[in-house]
Symmetry: C2
Subunit: 579 residues, 2 copies
């Protein structure tokens, strides 16, 4: 810090692509602090060091920070300043704070700079200290990429680029910078294996009216892919040459750049005279509205995932109380069953597997050593997903393992009512997630119960399990729900020390009807897996809710049973019979 | 315009207090154009003149503008620019546009200036042309004011000022400027009669830590009121001295001013060095959360208003088909029945009285000459309200006059389902109108029907029928619904050429319960008047909705019947019997 002339530094957990799961190469925050959680920021001053993280990680951070001399700042607790405010309060005016501008978005950097400026503190965003001090830094993954055929993607690279260029013209842009990895994978119809859970690969793309410029480690490309790209006017550059390219862009370029999806260094390297068009990345919106081929594939993925889930639930129901099962071994079992499905490419995130009171810990990360044993009593929550070439899945079921209390039954039923409430929504063009969210909560609010997370997020097509731009939650992000979007529907009830219940399906936005009053849309349920009839207090359901459940269960049976053996078929018949 | 050095001018329909109903003294737009509608802006250039108004007034404006040489710009129609864009497009760069800055809010002026600046057009906000050209301009009303006792207001002036000063301290303000008339009336516990519908009077107030400075025409005050105010350290200034006072404020004053509730001249006259604290007016929030005395009074007003409404509905039911009734005479009849109630101070707005297809015109303004005759067939919509010392009312009922179609029945029932849906809402702290709105629409959306207006607005305590800050509608204004707020609940269905249905009650936000998950609130229905059972398709209602309706009707009967004669009592019994 002294050599680099800064008085304090900020070390974030992001990579230059703002990924949800950064590769080890970018886990500098983890290396320097020993803290392995996914979310956390380290601040180092000349006198002290601190880690800011949220309640999911308080326990883990305490353990991992022991004897490091790094203080833990518990975000969200009263009196705890966020790290920006902490810096503003603790550093003398005139100080300089270093941060690697590649690991913060343009939007985040502006907010940071604003807070610090009020305290007369200057930011140095070219603080690339990891390049000097990180011994044994892992390399950027060199794994190969593979092409996802038109039978899965529905649109060729050429078609996608054409649509994008038309939109660039509308926005009067000469260049369009794409730096998030799922957008690049979607654009190019390639998938990779650089990180766990997300089938992405490391690259940057700049689209101009004549070329698609792809910055990528050439080891990742087969010669066949290289030749094909050359034919399509895709120019290949070294991954490491991206920032030089940005610096050397034509001074009069009109550059489309998404301030929430580009790191701040990309912006600062653009030629001074260039016009910066700051808008939501074109691909963000295109990618969210799944095309008919993607949707057909999603339906296939749902059958496979449903078969794996039903196999799992059957196994659980027949094994509990007979053989030892832990939260960890159950999650393992489910992954194994998913792996038996065609075109499976791993799980889409780390399975949340929580028995009884552990189910109430929303982001419970089960570990082999500390996993609880499942007993033939109470509720068990499992939130998981798979990556298939046909699509990404995300499903939560809460399962009855034995006797359950009336309170558990009531809570399960209230969550189910909320789930059905959102699933049955009909809404006009212009509706946003902020409008729909209450449909999943109204039933439990009437019982004085609520949950602290959102109700729905977007999901990628064989890409990231959390994908924007839509979001169904009380906070408004201004994004309209449009045809072809696939979202999760996942209300929950969490009672600390008692139980956790979450019920999650994926739902597709489809047409309902067009009348004199305009066009209306509704959801089609994609996920195929029974709810647990044993956990339902039928007297709390109204006629339409019962009808919805019976119809859904019939559909699950019809679509999943052909892939089951006789015993399992019988079991599913029983689990899905009308109430 | 030439003398004053401007190339075009904007004439708005506002007064310097941004009132919903300006006094005649400020109806310059009406005087210059002949257009009498409540909303409309006139633009005059050296070559042309235009009036911009919305669809409510297209027909009326066409008629009133005939032969004036003023073009009509139909806002909301395709290709029609708003007047800001029109000016930006039609005036050459370097032009100057005049506007009376007293008749635009600070926020509006900033938006206007921004649009014009892009076209290199300058604004002159001190264009007070009406002072020179308006011959026979009406004077500002000199009617007296009267005190509203503690038994109605629940809080003395002194208590209110104390609360406000505490809040000013929190906001670090030395002065607080109040310029909207309902806020001044609420603050001082006075009411006036300067305009129709709103019991306000013309004044400005500036609160400092030592004084309340009241700018008012002294004719309005009795000597008793003057003496009382002197005792309470309220300093009286001439109404016309307000702007000089603003100019002469201490240069180091820290002035709280609401940019949405102050005109732009007030802001521009403040000393340059003074600190402007731009926040929502303190009184806006205090006034919205009714105190227990106000709420008790509201309940009394609702009984009176319910008695008047039931008298009206009884009369209508027994007169239709026997004597001639028009939309106009029906509205007159209702006003007469309200006038029989104690402490009645006029209607709270111009009654909307629409028979059959006229009910589908949302802001239908009935006129004696053109009023339709009510026939013993179809539906009749009446939206009205009264001003009582105990509170302001606003109610809409849609009434069966004879045979109605199945479509009318379905639509009535869908509106009722929406009305009940919102009425039954339970919601945690932090909930805003944008979250609740869907509860009133979900039932009709499932039938491909929607309405273009908001679902709920705030209402004053013997003040304005439309009062902020809360709003229940798809557009988010960021305001949370809090305890003591009174809002309208008024979903509707409008089918052009066929029928219009709206069902409106006032609802009060009260506590529901506090649990481990926080505090939850709900609505208490205040309005007391039956819905029309004859218009309901019972098969579309679920069990809870039927229960709600029966309970509500029982409550209406219990509270209203003691004030009715035997025949009417019998009629009400019949109208409110359980379904």
């Amino acid at each position: 810090m002294a050599t680099l002339g800064v008085d304090a530094c900020i070390i974030t957990s992001a990579d230059p692509h703002l990924s949800e799961y950064p590769a080890d190469h970018w886990k500098f925050r983890e290396w320097i602090s020993g803290f392995t959680g996914s979310a956390g920021t380290v601040i180092v001053t000349n006198e002290e060091a601190g880690l800011w993280t949220d309640s999911r990680y308080f326990l883990q951070a305490e353990q991992e920070l022991e004897d490091t001399g790094i203080d833990l700042y518990r975000m969200g607790e009263p009196e705890i300043l966020n790290y920006k405010e902490w810096l503003a309060k603790n550093l003398p005016p005139g100080s300089v704070v270093g941060v690697n501008g590649k690991n913060v978005t343009i939007t985040e950097l502006r907010e940071l700079a604003k807070t610090l400026k009020l305290a007369d503190i200057r930011l140095d965003t070219r603080f690339f200290v990891e390049e000097d001090v990180w011994e044994g830094r892992p390399t950027i993954p060199e794994d190969g990429i593979f092409e996802l055929g038109l039978e899965y993607t529905g649109l060729s690279r050429i078609d996608k680029v054409q649509t994008i260029r038309a939109e660039m013209k509308k926005q009067d842009a000469t260049h369009y910078i794409v730096s998030t990895l799922d957008e690049i994978a979607w654009l190019l119809n390639f998938r990779g294996q650089d990180v766990l859970f997300n089938p992405i690969f490391h690259a940057y793309v700049v689209i101009s009216h004549n070329h698609v410029n792809l910055f990528i480690d050439p080891h990742k490309l087969t010669s066949a892919i290289g030749q094909q790209l050359a034919k399509e006017d895709v120019k290949i550059f070294l991954y490491t040459d991206f920032y030089d390219y940005i610096k050397d862009m034509p001074p009069l370029a009109k550059v489309l750049i998404d301030p929430a999806r580009s790191n701040s260094i990309v912006h600062s390297f653009l030629p001074k005279q260039s016009t910066k068009i700051e808008k939501t990345s074109i691909i963000t919106n295109l990618k969210a509205q799944k095309n008919t081929v993607e949707i057909e594939n999603f339906r296939k993925a749902m059958v496979k995932d449903g078969v794996a889930m039903v196999n799992f639930l059957y196994w659980l129901d027949n094994t509990i109380g007979k053989e030892a099962i832990t939260e960890y071994s159950a999650a393992q079992k489910l992954s194994e069953l998913r792996a038996k499905q065609d075109n499976y490419h791993g799980d889409s995130f780390n399975t949340i597997s929580g028995y009884a009171a552990n189910g109430a810990i929303v982001h419970y990360a089960v570990q082999e050593e500390t996993a609880a044993e499942l007993k033939p009593q109470g509720l068990y929550l499992i939130d998981s997903g798979g990556q298939y070439k046909e699509g990404t899945t995300d499903i939560t079921r809460t399962v009855v393992l034995g006797d359950i209390t009336d309170e558990e039954k009531t809570d399960y039923t209230l969550v189910l009512k909320g789930h059905i409430g959102l699933d049955q929504a009909v809404y006009p063009i212009g509706t946003r997630g902020v409008h729909l969210d209450i449909l999943a909560r109204q039933a439990m609010w009437k019982h004085g119960i609520n949950y602290g997370h959102g109700t729905g997020h977007g999901i990628g097509h064989f890409l990231c399990v959390h994908e924007g731009p839509q979001s169904i939650r009380p906070q408004d992000n201004g994004v309209e729900i449009t045809l072809g979007m696939i979202s999760s529907n996942e209300p929950g009830i969490y009672k600390a020390g008692k139980h956790g219940i979450r019920l999650e399906n994926l739902i597709l936005t489809v047409n309902d009807q067009t009348t004199d009053f305009g066009s209306f849309m509704k959801f089609e349920t994609l996920t195929l897996c029974p709810f647990d009839r044993r956990a339902i207090n039928i007297s709390l359901l109204d006629k339409q809710e019962i009808e919805w459940l019976n119809n859904y269960h019939q559909k699950v049976y019809d679509q999943i049973s052909p892939f089951l053996n006789t015993d399992m078929k019988k079991w599913l018949k029983d689990m899905t019979k009308a109430i």
